[in-house]
Subunit: 72 residues, 2 copies
Amino acid sequence: MKKEQIQQIVGNRIRSLRESKGISQQVLAAMCNFEKGNMSRIEAGKTNPTLMTLHKISQALEIKITDLVDFE
Amino acid sequence: MKKEQIQQIVGNRIRSLRESKGISQQVLAAMCNFEKGNMSRIEAGKTNPTLMTLHKISQALEIKITDLVDFE
DNA sequence: TGCTTAGTTGTCATATATGATAACCGATTC
DNA sequence: GAATCGGTTATCATATATGACAACTAAGCA
């Protein structure tokens, strides 16, 4: 499985969970202590996030990291 | 939860799964296309691995990423 | 029309992960 | 003792994630 595909899957997962909570990238990014532009890139699968970044996002979304990386 | 703690948990998980397969850091690292020294640091929780690094390791161990990041 | 909100994208500086090499340690084996 | 094996650690160059800022688009609304 290619790098971009995996990043895309995780990004899509974040986006859908974020939208199901009804919050904007702006707000989610702020909860994670970074800027909306960076959240946009993560959701778009344009970066290869670290364990800690995934952890911060999962905490903000009140889910487990496993919910973000559950594939294959 | 602190960064170091999370990295440590994931590192320990990798180590225990690797040992249960009876392979050395050397061999696992080679399967992931990197050096044993770097695998040592990951298992020791000294780095903050990226999504792709976790994916490569999980593929080599024939497990799912979720098995590595299943905590909290 | 003008204003606001949500998201995207470009660029930047800085930190750090990655990947490699080498030196080292401890245990084991010859 | 010497050699090997598994693991650790230091250091390096390079790539890239992070975090920030700004400019832009598009949609919705007063």
